[in-house]
C-alpha cells in the first residue's frame, strides 16, 4: 500500500492570476533530505529547512541578471552552483551574503542544466548536449564544447541518474515533432541516442530511474497514458549516428474523465508505484487537481489527494517527499510506498467512504476505436492490448450495448446482455462487464423505477465484476433491498470496503423478518443453514408464540426470558440463551442467518472495520452476537459432522467476529443488562473450551512423544534393508 500523508506548505508562490507558470524553476536537494534549494524563475535562490518550513538563507541576483538554471548544492565542496544568463557559472558558499562577490566564471557555450547527486561532482549539461564535470569545466572555463545534438534539436528535459558508482546524464530532445532520448554515461563517456515512439502528441513529462540493470524512462502523454521504456545501463559501444528506436510499454492508462491533460506530471516512485499530479481522481469528478499514487502492477489507485488551486504540471520527489507547487503555495507531501500484495491492492481504489454518488466510470469511445490506441478507458492494462482483437470479434460492441442500456427496456437489455455474455470470451468480458454494470447502475439511479435485477445478477455471476469496478452496485442493491443481489455481490466481490460491509450488516440485521424470508437466496447456503439447524427445531422468531418446541425448552420459559428485556424493535425479540445451552435454537430467521453468513465470509481488515462496527445499535449487536454464539456452539457440537456446503463460515471467522463485536461495543455490552446473560454464557463456553484445549495440548504433547518413541523402535536389533548407491 502506498499512502500520502498530511502535507505542509513550504512557501508561498508569487503567481499572477491566470499564469500557467508556477514561478519555480527547480527544487534541488541540499546537504540532507531536510534541506532543499528552491530556485524561482526570476532572480532568487532560497534554502529551506523542510521540517520547519522555514527559509534558512536566500540569495538574489542583481537586477538585469537572469537565473537560467536551477541552483544545485555541491555536496563535495558544500557550495552552491547556479548559472545566470546562460553562460555565467556562479559558485558561492552558505555564508556568502552577496552573490555578486562570489566566484564566477564565464563558459563558452550556453548551459542547459547543472545536475548534482549527493557525494558526486556536479555535471553541467550544455544546450548542445555536451557534458562536463564542474571541476573540469572550472579548470578551463573557455574550453570548446562539442555539439552532440543537431542544430534544430532542442533539449526538453534532462536528468542525472546514479546507480552505485555509475552516473548517467539522460536528456530528451525534440526535433521536428520527434523526441529522442540521449544517454551519456559519465564513467566511460559512452553515449547513445534513441528515438522515442511517437503518438503525435508531445509528452507532458518525463521521469527516469535506475533499477535492475536498466535505466527506466517514464513518460506521461496528454491522453493519460504512462509509458515506460528501458535502456540497458551498459550502453552499446561505438559512436552511432543513427538513433536507435526505443520501444515502450504502456504502464498505466489514467482515467481522464474527458479532455486531454494539459499540465500534468508523473514521477516513478519505485518499481511498482507512480505518482501523478494534475490528473482527475477516478471517483471524484472531472477536476484535475489531484495528486495520486498508482500501483502499476495491479493498476490500482493507491492514494489520492486533492491539491487546491491550479496545478502547474511540475513536481519533484526527494527522499519520500513530494514537492508540489499548486495554486499559490509549494506543498511538501510525505508519502510511503510499501510492497504491495494483491490483497491490499484490491479494494482500496476508493478509500474515501463519504464520496457522493460519483458518475460511473465512463468508457467514451470504446469499441469502434479499439484497434487504435483508444482514448482513456476505465482502467486499461498492458494486457488489454493483447486481448483487444478477440474482443472486437463479438457481434455487439460494448458501446452499442451501453447505448441500448441507456434507453432500452429491461427485457431487451437483459437479452442483449445475456447474448453478449455468452458470446464474449473471458478477457473481453472482464473489460466490458464493469462498464455495462456501471451503465446499468447509472440508469437505475437516474430512473428510480428502473431496476434490472436479473441483468445485474447475470453480470455478477460472470465473476468478472468487483467492487472497485462498479462501486455503486452493492449500494444500489442495498437501497433497493435486493438481498439476493447483495448475497451474490458479497460472494463475488473480493474488495468490498469495510464501511459497506457494515452497512450491509446493519441492513440485514434491521430488516423485518417478513421481508427477508420472502427473498429467494442462493440454495446452497440456505441448505447449509438448514442442515446446521436440523438438530434443533428450525425456529423463526415469528413462530415463537406458537409454542411448538421439541428440544426441552418450554415456550413460556423462553418468553419469560425475552419478555424481561427491553425489546428494541417489534420485529426482533432477541432471546438470551441460558449459559452453555448446547442445544440452542437459532436466534434469527433462516434467511437472515444466510445473509449474515455471507458477511462473516467477507474479507475485511480489522482496523477499518472497527470504527464502522461501532455504528451498530446495541440490540443489533446483541442479536448478532447471539447468532454468532449459536454458530459457535453448533460448530463445536458438529465438529465432525460438518454440513457439506460450498461456502460456509469457518470457526476462525466466527471467533474473529465475536472478538470484533465485543471489542467495538465493549462498554455498551458491559452496561446493557440484556447482554449480561449472553456474555456470561459466552464466557462460560469459552472457558470450558479453553480448559478442553489446554487438556488437548497436553495430550498432543504425549502423543508427539509417543510418535517419537515409535520412530526409534523401528530400528530393531536386526533388519535387512535395501539401499541404493549412485
Amino acid at each position: 500500500m502506498a499512502a500520502l500523508f498530511e502535507g505542509a506548505t513550504l512557501c508561498a508562490l508569487s503567481v499572477e492570476q491566470n499564469n500557467t507558470e508556477s514561478g519555480i524553476q527547480g527544487i534541488e536537494l541540499d546537504r540532507d533530505d531536510d534541506h532543499v534549494v528552491v530556485t524561482d524563475s526570476k532572480r532568487s535562490v532560497t534554502l529551506y529547512k523542510v521540517s520547519d518550513q522555514k527559509p534558512l538563507g536566500s540569495w538574489t541576483m542583481k537586477q538585469g541578471q537572469r537565473i537560467t538554471c536551477p541552483a544545485v548544492y555541491n555536496s563535495k565542496t558544500g557550495e552552491y552552483v547556479v548559472v545566470t544568463d546562460d553562460t555565467v557559472i556562479r559558485v558561492w558558499k552558505d555564508d556568502d551574503i552577496n552573490i555578486d562577490k562570489a566566484f564566477k566564471a564565464t563558459v563558452s557555450a550556453d548551459v542547459w542544466r547543472i545536475h548534482s547527486a549527493p557525494g558526486q561532482e556536479p555535471v553541467i549539461l550544455f544546450h548542445r548536449g555536451a557534458t562536463r564535470f564542474l571541476d573540469v569545466l572550472l579548470a578551463e572555463p573557455q574550453q570548446d564544447m562539442e555539439n552532440v545534438i543537431s542544430d534544430d534539436e532542442v533539449i526538453r528535459w534532462s536528468n542525472l541518474i546514479t546507480s552505485g558508482k555509475q552516473q548517467w546524464v539522460l536528456f530528451i530532445t525534440e526535433q521536428k515533432g520527434e523526441h529522442f532520448l540521449h544517454v551519456q554515461s559519465l564513467g566511460d563517456m559512452t553515449r547513445a541516442a534513441y528515438r522515442l515512439e511517437s503518438t503525435g502528441s508531445a509528452p507532458l513529462s518525463f521521469s527516469a530511474s535506475a533499477r535492475s540493470g536498466n535505466l527506466h524512462i517514464l513518460s506521461l502523454y496528454p491522453d493519460g497514458c504512462v509509458y515506460e521504456s528501458a535502456v540497458p545501463m551498459r550502453l552499446p559501444g561505438g559512436v552511432r549516428a543513427e538513433a536507435l528506436p526505443l520501444p515502450r510499454t504502456l504502464l498505466l492508462r489514467l482515467p481522464l474523465g474527458g479532455g486531454a491533460l494539459a499540465s500534468a506530471s508523473a514521477v516513478s516512485l519505485d518499481a511498482a508505484h507512480v505518482a501523478v499530479v494534475g490528473v482527475p481522481h477516478p471517483s471524484a469528478g472531472a477536476g484535475k487537481d489531484y495528486l495520486c499514487i498508482w500501483n502499476t502492477n495491479f493498476q490500482t489507485l493507491q492514494a489520492g489527494k486533492e491539491m487546491a488551486g491550479r496545478i502547474y504540471g511540475q513536481f519533484w520527489c526527494y527522499h519520500r517527499k513530494l514537492y508540489v507547487p499548486h495554486g499559490k503555495a509549494l506543498s511538501v507531501i510525505p508519502f510511503e510506498c510499501q510492497k504491495s500484495s494483491l490483497a491490499s491492492a484490491l479494494g482500496k481504489l476508493k478509500q474515501s467512504g463519504g464520496c457522493e454518488m460519483a458518475p460511473p466510470v465512463p468508457l467514451p469511445s470504446w469499441g469502434a476505436e479499439t484497434h487504435e490506441d483508444a482514448s482513456a478507458a476505465g482502467m486499461e492494462t498492458r494486457r488489454n492490448k493483447l486481448t483487444r482483437k478477440s474482443h472486437g470479434a463479438s457481434n455487439v460492441s460494448v458501446d452499442q450495448l451501453i447505448d441500448q442500456i441507456k434507453t432500452g427496456s429491461e427485457e431487451d437489455v437483459q437479452k442483449a446482455v445475456a447474448s453478449f455474455i455468452s458470446k464474449s470470451d473471458l478477457p473481453a468480458l472482464q473489460l466490458a462487464v464493469g462498464s455495462l454494470a456501471s451503465a446499468l447502475v447509472a440508469r437505475s439511479l437516474a430512473e428510480p423505477s428502473y431496476y434490472p435485477h436479473k441483468v445485474l445478477v447475470q453480470l455478477v455471476h460472470t465473476q468478472c465484476l468487483s467492487h472497485s469496478v462498479c462501486p455503486d452496485l452493492l449500494k444500489l442493491a442495498l437501497e433497493k433491498k435486493d438481498f439476493a443481489l447483495c448475497q451474490f455481490c458479497l460472494q463475488a466481490f473480493p474488495d468490498i470496503p469495510e464501511a459497506l460491509t457494515c452497512a450491509c450488516l446493519n441492513v440485514f440485521l434491521s430488516t423485518p423478518n417478513s421481508e427477508l424470508e420472502t427473498v429467494a437466496l442462493e440454495t446452497d447456503s440456505v441448505a447449509f443453514m438448514e442442515g446446521l439447524s436440523a438438530a434443533t427445531a428450525p425456529e423463526d422468531e415469528e413462530d415463537e408464540g406458537k409454542g411448538t418446541r421439541q428440544n426441552g425448552f418450554s415456550t413460556t420459559a423462553s418468553q419469560e426470558e425475552s419478555s424481561c428485556e427491553a425489546q428494541p424493535t417489534p420485529h426482533q425479540k432477541p432471546k438470551l440463551p441460558i449459559p452453555m445451552p448446547l442445544d440452542m435454537t437459532r436466534p434469527i430467521g433462516l434467511h437472515r442467518a444466510v445473509l449474515l453468513n455471507e458477511i462473516l465470509q467477507t474479507p475485511y481488515s480489522e482496523s477499518f472495520l472497527l470504527p464502522h462496527l461501532k455504528e451498530l445499535t446495541t440490540p443489533h449487536v446483541i442479536l448478532y452476537l447471539q447468532y454468532l454464539q449459536f454458530l459457535y456452539v453448533k460448530y463445536y457440537q458438529d465438529i465432525n459432522t460438518q454440513v457439506p456446503a460450498l461456502r460456509s463460515p469457518t470457526m476462525t471467522q466466527i471467533i474473529d467476529w465475536v472478538c470484533l463485536l465485543v471489542d467495538a461495543h465493549f462498554t455498551v455490552l458491559v452496561m446493557a443488562p440484556e447482554a449480561k446473560e449472553l456474555l456470561s454464557g459466552l464466557h462460560g463456553f469459552v472457558k470450558a473450551q479453553m480448559k478442553l484445549f489446554t487438556d488437548l495440548g497436553k495430550i498432543e504433547g504425549s502423543l508427539h512423544a509417543l510418535k517419537k518413541v515409535k520412530k526409534s523402535k523401528n530400528n530393531g536389533q536386526y533388519s535387512i534393508e535395501v539401499i541404493e548407491l549412485f
Binding site: G716, Q717, Y718, I720, E721, V722, I723, E724, F726
Partner: protein, 713 residues
C-alpha cells in the same frame, strides 16, 4: 553379506545399483569409562586409562590416532597414570605400581607399595622420583631406575588417605590433598611444613568429610585445590592463607590440570563440565594477576574424571566413556582440523570379524566372545525397504575367557570352522563344528610353543593357516588341520622394529601376507617362498586399515590422516590410481573427517569397488570413475538421487558415501553382503549424584544396545 549389484536392466554398470544390507544392532559393545589421562608434552603421546584396567595410547600429533591398546584385567583398577620420559607408570587401588611395556602391550613390572590402595602417582619435575599417595596416609617416594623403580622412603605419615599429590616445580616440596586438608611436605626432611584446612560444603552434615580430589603446586608457591564441596581454592602456601575461592559446582571438582606455563588451569566436575581458569590481571595494564574463571565447556554427560592440557587443546574424559579434545581457539589462528572439537568414542581397531563364507560374525567383548549367524531374507525390495526376515539371526556361541585378563584380539576363519583369541598371556584356538543346527567347539590342546600370545590374529582365505602377530613385529605362521596344528614359519622384519603389529592382511590366493606396525611400517611377506617380499615406503601417519585386493593383489591402505594408497605387491610400487590420487589430492571434505577408516574390503562382484568405513559412514570407492573435483560435492548421493539417470553419469565420482548407518563399528562383506555394526552411546545422565557414587553400572544400565549392520544379496 555383500553388495548385490542388481543393476537395472539395460543400464550401464557405471551406476552402482542396489545393495542388501544386514543391519545388525545386537553387538552390545560398551566402552569403559575413562579414569585417568596422562599427556606427555615431549612426545605428544597421550595415555588414557579406563575403568576396566585397559590403557590406550593416542598419538596427539598423528590426528589423535589410537596407536596401541593395552588390554585390561579384572581387579586391575588404575587410579592414576604418569609418564617418566617415555616410560608409563600407573597406580591403582590394588596397591601396586605398574610399569607398562609399550612394545609388547603388557605390564612390564609390578611393585607393591605396601601402603594399601594407591590413589595417586606423580613424578617430580626432574624425572628422578615417583611419589605415590596411599590409603594409609603415607606418601612414598620411589627412585626411578633404568630397569625399574626402587622404594626410597616414606614422608611423615598423616592420618587419613592421600588422594592427590603435586610436586613443587623445584622438586623440594610436595603438596598432598587429603580428607579435609592439604599438607605440604619438605622432601628433604620428610616433615610436613604446612597444613591448609579445607572447610566442608555449606550445610553438609558434620561427619561428612571434604575430599581434596586434586591439588596443583605452582612455582610461585600457590597451591590450587579442587574438592568434593565443588570448589576450586587458591592458597598461598607461604602464609597458608586462602586467596580465592571459586564455587564451581554443587557437587565435586574431581580433577585439575595445569598448563605448562602455569597460566591456565582446567577443572573437571561431576556435572560433566570442564571449567577453565586463567591467571590474568584483573585491570588492564596492571601487574597484579589472579586466577579468574574464564570458560565452561559442557561436552560430557557424566562425571569428568580426567583432564589434561595439551598445548592448544583441553582433553577430557569421564564416565560417559568418550574422550573429548576441545581446542582452545585463542591458540589457533586459522580454522583447520586441529581447531575442531573432536570426540573419540570407539576404538580405532576392529572388534568384529566376519566368516564370509559361513555368514558368521564374531563379536569381541572384553572378557567374552559371541558368534552369531546372520538372518536371511528371500525377498526383493526397492531401495529404502525393509525386507521380511525369514530366518532370525542366531547366537551360536558365547565363549567366556579363562582367567582375569581381557581379550586383546580374536578371529574367526572364513569358513567358520576355526576361532581363535588371545589375551596378554594366552592364546586359544578352537575348532567349531556345525552339524545341522547344532554347534560344538573343541579347544585345540597342543598348540606350538611359539603361539604363546598374539597382538593380532588372522586366518588365511582357505582357513588352512593361522597368522599370529607376536613380539618384535614378528608373525608366526601355523598350519591347521583337523586335529593338529603345526608351526610352519616365523616372519621377522628386516628393520628390527620392536613395535607391535596391529594389522594383518592376507591375500585371497594365499600368496601374500601384509603386516602393519606402530612404527608405520608395512611389510609384505611371500607365503609361497616364506620370505620377506618387500616393504611399503613408510608414510608419516599410522595405518588405520589395510587389505589386499582379491584379484589384483594390490594392497590398499588407509592412514590416520585420511590418506589412501594402493600398492601393487607384484610390482613393488604404488599403482597408477594411487599416484593419480596423490597428484590430484583427496577432496577436502574427505580429509576433514575426524574418525579414521577402520576397515577396507572389496566388492567381489566388481573388482573396481573398494569399501571403506569409519564411524560415521561407509564409502564405496569406484576406481573406474573420475576422482571428485576440488570444488565438487563429495557427499553427492542425495543430489544424484534427485537427478535423471542420464545426468547422473556426468556428476558421478569415485567416492560413494553412505551415511545411513551411524555409528558404524564394522563393515564387511561375504559372497554377497557387507556387514556393518554400530552402537549408541549411553544416554544422558544428569549429574545429581556426587562423582564418587556414580558407578559404571549406572551408565551401563542407561545405555542403549549396540547395533551392527550387514549387506547381502
Amino acid at each position: 553379506m555383500i553388495f548385490t549389484d542388481k543393476t537395472k536392466k539395460g543400464t550401464e554398470t557405471r551406476i552402482m545399483g542396489e545393495f542388501k544390507v544386514h543391519r545388525v544392532r545386537f553387538f552390545d559393545y560398551m566402552p569403559s569409562g575413562i579414569r585417568a589421562i596422562a599427556f606427555n608434552q615431549q612426545t605428544e603421546i597421550m595415555a588414557v586409562a579406563r575403568l576396566d584396567g585397559s590403557v590406550e595410547i593416542f598419538n596427539f600429533s598423528d590426528h589423535l590416532f589410537q596407536e596401541k591398546v593395552i588390554p585390561g584385567k579384572e581387579q586391575r583398577s588404575i587410579e592414576a597414570l604418569c609418564w617418566v620420559g617415555e616410560r608409563l607408570f600407573s597406580a591403582g587401588l590394588s596397591g601396586e605400581i605398574i610399569e607398562f611395556d609399550l612394545h609388547n602391550l603388557r605390564p612390564k613390572l609390578t611393585i607393591d607399595a605396601y601402603g594399601g590402595p594407591i590413589w595417586t602417582i606423580t613424578v617430580n619435575p626432574q624425572g628422578t622420583h615417583l611419589a605415590v599417595g596411599c590409603e594409609d596416609g603415607t606418601v612414598k617416594l620411589f627412585e626411578v631406575l633404568e630397569d625399574g623403580i626402587q622404594f626410597e622412603r616414606n614422608l611423615d605419615r598423616k592420618k587419613g588417605r592421600i588422594l592427590s599429590l603435586c610436586w613443587h616445580p623445584s622438586g623440594t616440596k610436595i603438596a598432598a590433598g587429603m580428607m579435609d586438608m592439604i599438607c605440604m611436605f619438605d622432601i628433604k626432611t620428610g616433615h610436613a611444613i604446612h597444613r591448609l584446612l579445607v572447610d566442608k560444603a555449606r550445610g553438609a552434615p558434620k561427619n561428612q568429610e571434604c575430599v581434596v580430589w586434586s591439588v596443583v603446586y605452582l612455582a610461585d608457591d600457590t597451591v590450587i585445590s579442587g574438592d568434593s564441596a565443588g570448589r576450586v581454592k587458591v592458597w598461598d602456601a607461604h602464609t597458608g592463607t586462602l586467596i580465592k575461592n571459586h564455587d564451581v559446582t554443587k557437587w565435586d571438582v574431581l580433577t585439575l590440570s595445569l598448563s605448562q606455563d602455569e597460566t591456565s588451569l582446567v577443572a573437571g566436575t561431576s556435572e560433566g563440565t570442564v571449567v577453565q581458569f586463567q591467571f590474568l590481571s584483573t585491570a588492564l595494564g596492571q601487574e597484579d594477576k589472579e586466577w579468574v574463571r574464564t570458560r565452561t565447556f559442557k561436552n560430557h554427560t557424566h562425571d569428568v574424571r580426567a583432564v589434561a592440557e595439551a598445548g592448544s587443546a583441553i582433553i577430557s574424559g569421564g564416565m560417559d566413556t568418550q574422550l573429548v579434545v576441545r581446542p582452545l581457539l585463542e591458540k589457533h589462528d586459522v580454522k583447520s582440523q586441529a581447531s575442531a572439537l573432536r570426540k573419540v568414542q570407539f576404538p580405532h581397531r576392529r572388534l568384529v570379524s566376519c566368516a564370509k563364507k559361513a555368514q558368521l560374525v564374531l563379536f569381541q567383548y572384553p572378557s567374552h566372545l559371541e558368534l552369531w549367524r546372520l538372518g536371511e531374507s528371500e525377498g526383493h525390495g526397492t531401495p529404502g525397504d525393509k525386507l521380511p526376515v525369514q530366518r532370525n539371526p542366531e547366537k551360536l556361541l558365547q565363549l567366556k575367557t579363562k582367567g582375569e585378563e581381557h581379550i586383546c584380539c580374536s578371529a574367526v576363519s572364513p569358513c567358520g570352522g576355526w576361532l581363535a583369541y588371545s589375551t596378554t598371556s594366552s592364546l586359544r584356538l578352537y575348532k567349531v563344528q556345525h552339524e545341522n543346527n547344532n554347534i560344538s567347539i573343541t579347544k585345540m590342546s597342543k598348540l606350538p610353543k611359539v603361539l604363546h600370545w598374539a597382538h593380532q590374529l588372522c586366518f588365511s582365505a582357505d582357513s588352512s593357516q593361522l597368522f599370529a602377530a607376536s613380539a618384535n613385529s614378528s608373525v608366526h605362521v601355523v598350519s591347521l588341520s583337523a586335529n593338529s596344528c603345526k608351526h610352519k614359519h616365523t616372519f621377522k622384519p628386516k628393520t628390527g622394529s620392536t613395535q607391535p603389529i596391529h594389522l594383518l592382511s592376507v591375500s585371497a590366493d594365499g600368496q601374500w601376507l601384509a603386516t602393519a606396525n606402530s612404527d608405520c611400517e608395512i611389510h609384505i611377506y611371500s607365503l609361497t617362498t616364506l620370505k620377506s617380499h618387500c616393504k611399503v615406503p613408510v608414510y608419516r601417519s599410522g595405518v588405520s586399515a589395510m587389505a589386499i585386493h582379491p584379484t589384483t593383489n594390490n594392497l590398499f591402505m588407509a592412514h590416520a590422516d585420511q590418506q589412501v594408497f594402493e600398492f601393487s605387491i607384484e610390482q613393488k610400487q604404488y599403482t597408477d590410481w594411487s599416484r593419480q590420487v596423490q597428484r590430484v589430492g583427496l577432496h577436502f571434505k574427505w580429509l576433514e573427517r575426524d574418525t579414521p577408516v577402520t576397515s577396507v574390503t572389496f566388492n567381489p562382484r566388481n573388482p573396481a569397488h573398494i569399501i571403506l568405513h569409519d564411524m560415521y559412514m561407509f564409502c564405496v570407492i569406484d576406481q573406474s570413475l573420475p576422482l571428485p573435483q576440488k570444488y565438487s560435492q563429495l557427499y553427492n548421493q542425495l543430489t544424484l538421487k534427485s537427478m535423471p539417470e542420464q545426468e547422473r553419469q556426468e556428476h558421478c565420482h569415485a567416492f560413494k558415501v553412505c551415511k545411513l548407518f551411524q555409528p558404524l563399528m564394522c563393515v564387511g562383506h561375504d559372497g554377497g553382503s557387507l556387514p556393518g555394526g554400530g552402537r549408541a552411546l549411553p544416554a544422558g545422565h544428569h549429574g545429581e549424584t556426587p562423582g564418587a557414587s556414580q558407578t559404571e553400572e549406572e551408565v551401563l544400565r542407561r545405555s542403549e544396545k549396540c547395533h551392527m549392520v550387514l549387506i547381502s544379496c
